[in-house]
């Protein structure tokens, strides 16, 4: 399992975008740190299928900034998954959300990789609010579906 955690600040960007942090778990666009307005938001292509997996578990996630038709596609054998944002409010109300979400992503990966030849790596980023006011953190993960499940403890610890 290969991951790293970074702290960052999105406050100025949110002001520029005239958007507030969502209080639910949501998908973030790939270019949240650089986009000038929400119409420029580009989401990862796999969001289309992954959201259907969330929906099956009665957990439809919103796309931050509203619906989009712009999806980045990479014709590479690695799997690029969309950025998922965990809000402090959502996790306080339902601490199970992290493990449920990781299980959904993991079964999506399992289904996507079934029948494929060769080793494939998944790339995904999780963003979350830390309990320290105004602080945001992100975890970058590169690895297989199994390793993904063990991120739960790491995310929960980092949110404290």
């Amino acid at each position: 399992m290969n991951y790293n955690i970074k702290e960052y600040n999105l406050e100025d960007n949110f002001k520029k975008l005239n958007l507030k942090l969502p209080n639910k778990i949501s998908f973030f666009p790939e270019n949240i740190e650089t986009a000038n307005n929400k119409e420029d938001f580009i989401f990862t292509e796999s969001i289309i299928e992954l959201n259907k997996y969330f929906e099956i578990e009665n957990l439809k996630l919103d796309l931050f900034g509203g619906d989009s038709e712009l999806y980045r596609s990479r014709k590479n054998a690695d799997i690029y998954l969309p950025t998922i944002f965990f809000s402090l409010t959502a996790i306080s109300q339902n601490p199970e959300l992290i493990s449920v979400s990781l299980n959904i992503v993991s079964s999506f990966l399992y289904d996507t990789l079934k029948g494929q030849i060769g080793k494939k790596t998944a790339n995904i980023e999780f963003h979350f609010e830390s309990k320290e006011k105004g602080k945001m953190k992100k975890i970058n993960y590169k690895g297989d579906a199994e390793g993904l499940k063990s991120l739960e403890k790491i995310i929960t610890k980092a949110m404290k």
Binding site: I48, E69, R72, N76, A77, K114, G115
Partner: protein, 225 residues
Amino acid sequence: MKVFIENPNLLIKEFNEVAQIAQKKTFITIGIEIQKEEIENIKNYNQKLSKLKQDFVHRELENEANLIYCIENSLLTIQYELQMLVNIKEDRMSEAWGNLVNAQVIYGNVVSNSVFEIESEKGYLKRLENYENLLFPHLFFQSAGGIIKKSHCSICKEKSGKCKHLKGKLYNGELCCRIITEMELEEISYVENPANKHCRVLTITKNGKEIDIMTLREKEIKKQE
């Protein structure tokens, strides 16, 4: 084939027999004329299956239609495997590669739609992977990336994300795909592990000569008259 509408288990039995006969001919030592004949046998059998699938679709028997898809495409995989062996014997290496990739992709779709994990499926996928490593040189590939601006579902034609159909899954005997109708190209990269193995580097230039990567022969440049 009408009997299969009443009892799909008989169809599975017949498929196993047809596949077993065909797979006995998927060796490089088998006579080329025998392999060509088997390719025709599979084509003819698949034509009958196609009609049977239409019948199941018409009767709205989705599971049965999906079963035919899997049987049809498993046989198509063997057909491509045989075609690859024939191509190699005929010194048509580029076509041989193309047919191997077709076999890998098509069988991958069958495996990803299987309800159960069957050991023989993994074994056959491994066989298709082994061909790649044993029969062909190390190849380099290209991979394109870009922004999808317009796309829709192949099953219901709704905009991507607006329906419940899952890409790569079967619906009434049909594989769900995403149809991209507008895309802005961002980059083309050289990669070792591509999504599409058809997208490969064909030639290299060495000492001013264009060399075919697959055969190491100098590529003939057609003169314009």
